[in-house]
Symmetry: C2
Subunit: 323 residues, 2 copies
C-alpha cells in the first residue's frame, strides 16, 4: 500500500509540475506573464495540490475532476509567496531569486495579482455542483491568509503575544491553505458538509504543527541558511513559538531585556540556546507539535478508509521531509 502510494505521489507531483508548466499563460505582455510563469513553475513540494488530489480520490472523486482545483491551490500558494517576499524583504525562495529582486517591486505586486486571478480562474474550471461554495471558501481562505500575514507583522512589535495568539496566526497564515486544499477535494465529492469542515480543521492543525516545527528547527539547526533566517527573525522581533514560551512568565521589562540579550548574542548562539534549554522550551515545543499532530490525525478516523490512508501517508511524508 505504502509503496503504491509513494509511486502515486511521485506521479501526481510530475503531473502537477507539468500542469503548472502548461497553464496556457500567454507570452505577452511579458512584464506580467514572465514573472507569473517563473513563480508558478518554481520547484516545490506540491503539498497543497497533493492534499486536494488525495482527499478527493479518497472520497471517491475521479482524478481528472480534481485537477483544476489542485492547480488552483498551488497557484494561490505561489501568489502568497510572491507578495510575502516583498513584505518580508526576502531575497531567495525555492532556490531562486525572489520576483521583486529579479525584477522589481512593481512587477512583483502585479504578477502576484495576476497569479491570484489565475488561481481563481483555474478553480472555476472545476465541474462540481458545489462550485459556488468552493469559490466562497477559496476567497474566504485567501482573506484569512491575509489576516495571518497582518497578525504576523503586528506581533513583531508586540510583547504580549500568547501561545493562543500564535496558533490563531499560523492557523490562518499556513494552516488555512492546507485546510482549503482538503476541503475543496471534499466539496467536489459527494461527502457531507461536516466532512469538508472536519478536513479544513485537519489542515489547520497540520499547518500549526508544521509551523511550530519550522520555528523549532530554525533555532536548533546549525546550517548556515537556517541560521541567517534566525538572525533576521531576531532582528525583526518575530514571535516564534519557542520564543513566546520563553517570554511567557516574564514581566514586560524582563521581556525587553531578553529580546535585547538575543540581539546582542546573534553570534553567540550557544548563550541563547542555553536559556531555552534551562526553561525546557524544546521539550515543551515538541510536545505541542505532537499534540497538534495527534489532534489532526484523529480527525481522519471519521473518513472512509482510503481517504484516511491517503492523508496519513502524506502527513508521514511531510513530517519526514521536515526533519
Amino acid at each position: 500500500m505504502k509503496n503504491n502510494l509513494e509511486k502515486l505521489v511521485t506521479a501526481y507531483r510530475n503531473e502537477i509540475d507539468l500542469g503548472l508548466k502548461y497553464l496556457r499563460i500567454p507570452g505577452e505582455p511579458s512584464g506580467l506573464y514572465k514573472p507569473m510563469v517563473y513563480s508558478a513553475t518554481a520547484p516545490g513540494k506540491r503539498i497543497r495540490p497533493l492534499l486536494a488530489f488525495l482527499t478527493g480520490e479518497g472520497l471517491g472523486v475521479d482524478h481528472d475532476r480534481l485537477r483544476p482545483a489542485a492547480l488552483a491551490v498551488e497557484v494561490l500558494h505561489a501568489f502568497t509567496l510572491v507578495h510575502d517576499d516583498i513584505m518580508d524583504n526576502d531575497t531567495r525562495r525555492r532556490g531562486l531569486e525572489t520576483v521583486h529582486v529579479k525584477w522589481d517591486t512593481n512587477t512583483a505586486i502585479l504578477s502576484g495579482d495576476g497569479l491570484m486571478a489565475l488561481a481563481f480562474r483555474l478553480l472555476m474550471e472545476t465541474d462540481a455542483d458545489r462550485i459556488r461554495q468552493m469559490g466562497f471558501e477559496f476567497s474566504q481562505a485567501m482573506l484569512e491568509i491575509c489576516e495571518g500575514q497582518a497578525l504576523d507583522v503586528e506581533f513583531e512589535s508586540r510583547l504580549d503575544v500568547t501561545a493562543m495568539d500564535y496558533l490563531d496566526m499560523v492557523g490562518k497564515k499556513t494552516g488555512r491553505l492546507l485546510g482549503l486544499s482538503c476541503q475543496l477535494g471534499a466539496l467536489i465529492s459527494d461527502a457531507d458538509e461536516s466532512v469538508a469542515e472536519n478536513l479544513n480543521r485537519f489542515g489547520i492543525e497540520l499547518g500549526q504543527a508544521f509551523q511550530i516545527q519550522d520555528d523549532l528547527l530554525e533555532i536548533t539547526s546549525d546550517t548556515r541558511n537556517m541560521g541567517k533566517s534566525l538572525d533576521s527573525d531576531i532582528t525583526s522581533g518575530k514571535k516564534t513559538y519557542p520564543l513566546i514560551l520563553v517570554l511567557g512568565g516574564l514581566s514586560m521589562s524582563e521581556k525587553r531585556s531578553f529580546l535585547e540579550f538575543m540581539k546582542i548574542n546573534l553570534d553567540n548562539r550557544k548563550a541563547i540556546l542555553d536559556v531555552f534549554q534551562q526553561k525546557d522550551i524544546f521539550t515543551k515545543t515538541s510536545d505541542k507539535i505532537t499534540q497538534l499532530m495527534n489532534n489532526a490525525l484523529k480527525r481522519l478516523d471519521q473518513l472512509p478508509l482510503m481517504a484516511t490512508e491517503n492523508l496519513q501517508y502524506l502527513v508521514d511524508m511531510i513530517s519526514k521531509r521536515q526533519r
Copy 2:
C-alpha cells in the same frame, strides 16, 4: 422617464455606499481591515455597480439578486486603485491620501490583496445558475486588467506605440471592468450568451472612449490638479492618445526630440499645445471619442427597450460629468 432614472441612480448610489459601509468586515486585525474599509468606502461615482444594476434590471432581474455582484465589481475596482497607486506612486485618490502614503507600501499590498479576496467572496454570494461562468469571467477580467497595467508601464519606455496598441491597453485597463459589470448583470438574467458578450464589448468601447476623453481633458485643462498629473505623465513618458497621434508620423529621432521638447516646456504649456493644435490633434481625438461612443451605443440596439434606456441614461450621465 429620465427624471425617474435620475432618482433611481441616486437611490442606488446611496444603497451602494451603504452596502460598502456594511460589508461585515471585522475590526481585527486592524492592519488589514482598516485600510480595506478606508479604500472600499472612499467616495466614488459607483459607475461599475450602477452598470451591473441597470443592465441586470433592464434584462428583468430582481434588484436584490444583483447586489452581491454590484458590490463585487466596486470592491474589485477599489483593489485595482490601491495597487495601481503604489505602482504609479500616486499620493492622492478620491480626495484622500492613498493607502501606501497614509500607511505604508506593505499595508497597501496586503489590503489590496484582501480587497481582491473580498470581491470574489461577494461575487460568490450571488444566486445564479451561471455562477461558475460569472466567476470565470470575473477572474479573466482581473487578469486582463493586470495585462492593461503591464502594457501601460511597458509603453512608457517605448516610442513605437500605435493607436491600436493604445486602444488594446485601455480596453483592458479601463474598459474590461465596465464590460464585466454589464456582463455579470446579463449572466444573472436569462439573457443569451451573445447578449452578455455584446455588453462586454459595449463596456470596453465605453472605457476606451472615456479614457481618451480623460487624456484629452488632461492636456487641454487649465486646472492645477490636471496640470500636475500632466507634468508627471510627460516626465514618466506616458503614452496618451493625443501624444500617440502627434508622434505618429515622426521618425524615431524626431519622436525623441519631441518628447524632450515637452519635458523642457513643462512650464510653457502653450508651446506644447500649439504643436498639438497645428497637427489638428484635438479634432482627431474628439472624432475618435465620438466614433467609439457611437459604436458602443449602437450595441444597445440589440437589447430590450428597458436595458437600452437604462444604459443610455448612464452613458449620458457619465459623459456629462466628465466634461
